[in-house]
Amino acid sequence: MRKKISRGLVLVLAVCMLTGTAGCGTKQEKNALEITNVSYDPTRELYASYNELFKKYYEEKTGQQVTISQSHGGSGSQARSVVEGNDADVVTLALAHDITLIEEAGLIEPGWLSEFDRNSSPYTSTIVFLVRKGNEKQIRDWEDLTKDGVGVITPDPKSSGGACWNFLAAWHYADRLYGGDEAQMRQFVHDLYQNVLVMDSGARGATTTFVENGQGDVLIAWENEALLTVKEYPDDYEIVTPSVSILAEPSVAIVDENVEKNGTAELAKDYLEYLYSEEAQQLIGENFYRPSDEKVLSQFGDVFDLSVNLCSIDDFGGWDQAYADFFTDDAIFDQIME
């Protein structure tokens, strides 16, 4: 009897191991060069066109063909998937902090932030307002979002990294308005978040709520997402750039541990370095991200409002500090929501 049970177990285990090793086999047998880029949600269109550009460039340079697999999702959960074993060669995520998470797991060597130019940020973006055509509620700046009767749509900072930037930009505005008087600043963001009608779990969900379900008067959004929406529905929406906003520096890095295993170190480095070339920077601008190359950026003066006053995460003492001060349990965000 017992023998029979163990025979059954052995069979099941054998099947599991066979399927397991079969999975490994396909990865090792690859001949063509292949890399995986794990990225976040709104870069879908950007990397679809950049990958084509890079393939052409790489073939001309080395005569070799490359296959690039793309993966998109919420930045935080994408980082988590790499930590948990997703075989990414490069990561191109929304925040430096998400990459730090992978670094802490030992997959990326410290010092990655200075491996590429400009804090390893080949493009930047900022937070703007998307309003319905005509801007009936006369929304011009952050202050207008705190007025009675204005419906605001922004995702939940406690579940969406992007939403933290929205909050910090508002906080920065209040800081300048009240000259650092914290009681008044808290009141300001309290009033603003009292006007939030729906708090989605992520930026894409918030866009759906505002655009598809017609909720609210203003969506606090990434500039690239807002520009994309206006391009799709030019008659329905317009963009308002506030006087003050925050500079978001999406970061890129090589996943050292994985490229060593996959033998793709050179290719991964080329892939990320080429993002800084003039052609790529041009493409980045066309996809509504702000090119980090000043010269190329200035050509897009009619697309981006370059007069906006931008603070950066360093003004909040870095991401870890900002997160601890504002978004952990019982920190400022929880307090003003009570």
Partner: protein
């Protein structure tokens, strides 16, 4: 042991069952347990009794109870109609019952939100009556009813099919009123199946994520955050908090397990009563 089984393959099938259970259910559940035990008892209690966490438990359990009750009522009527009557399009309708299981829950959630928002088809009409559905607890119940209905129908249907009409006929001939037949003849037979359906729909509702998060609006202020959302907050946020997520998940598991246990006991009790 030593007893010979008449049907061959007992060792093989039991081996498969045990390894399957281990790989897919027991080991993952044990790892949740292990994770949440990395917290101290004090931290654990502090987290579980936080106002937003406690409110999320109330919302999840309350809404899924109401949704499961609605589903039990309507699921019974649906199953009754599909079994007892013949009408054109019956096979099609029967197939449609399972669609909520096949559809990605996020798609269902986004669609329901749009329909029931104050700009949507149903939401506009309901709004005139002063009823708000999307972004309220009512919306959560609507989504849970949607995902839970197949469980009740599919639990009740086979029992109804097998139930011979001779009992009803005998009762009628002995002079029982229609209401009395339903109450004393049909319901006792169906009660175990209804309880199973209720339990399945309930547990589906308590853990539901995809279809609920879009329609709920996730407002801590309005009490529309569900437990699965609070767990995802712990995992998505800037600093991933595995222990916190595992601790909340553990309590959720215990609550569900306890409720299912009660339902199973009730079911055993009722099915014994109707055994001849």
């Amino acid at each position: 042991m030593g007893k010979k089984h008449v049907i061959p393959g007992f060792g093989m099938t039991l081996g498969t069952t045990v390894s399957f259970l281990c790989l897919l259910i027991l080991i993952p559940l044990a790892s949740i347990l292990a994770r949440s035990f990395q917290m101290s008892a004090q931290e654990f209690m502090a987290l579980i009794t936080r106002p937003n966490v406690a409110q999320a438990f109330r919302t999840s359990i309350g809404c899924s109870l109401i949704a499961a009750l609605i589903n039990t009522g309507f699921g019974f009527i649906l199953a009754w109609t599909l079994v007892k009557y013949e009408f054109p399009g019956k096979a099609l309708m029967d197939g449609m019952i399972e669609l909520p299981l096949a559809m990605p829950t996020a798609v269902a959630g986004i669609t329901l939100t749009k329909l029931y928002s104050d700009q949507g088809m149903f939401g506009k009409a309901l709004g005139r009556l002063g009823i708000k559905v999307s972004y309220t607890r009512l919306g959560i119940i609507v989504a849970m009813v949607f995902v839970g209905i197949p469980f009740v129908v599919r639990s009740v249907q086979p029992v109804l099919e097998k139930l011979s009409p001779c009992y009803e006929e005998a009762a009628a001939m002995l002079g029982a009123s229609k209401l009395y037949i339903v109450r004393r003849v049909l319901l006792p037979e169906l009660l175990p199946a209804l309880l199973t359906g209720f339990g399945l729909a309930l547990s589906r509702g308590i853990g539901e994520y995809g279809s609920v998060i879009y329609i709920s609006g996730n407002s801590a202020k309005e009490g529309t955050q569900v437990v699965s959302y609070v767990i995802m907050q712990k995992l998505n946020a800037g600093n991933v908090d595995y222990e916190g997520a595992a601790a909340i998940a553990l309590v959720l598991l215990l609550v569900s397990f306890f409720m299912l246990l009660v339902i199973n006991l009730l079911q055993r009790f009722t099915s014994q009563r109707t055994k001849f």
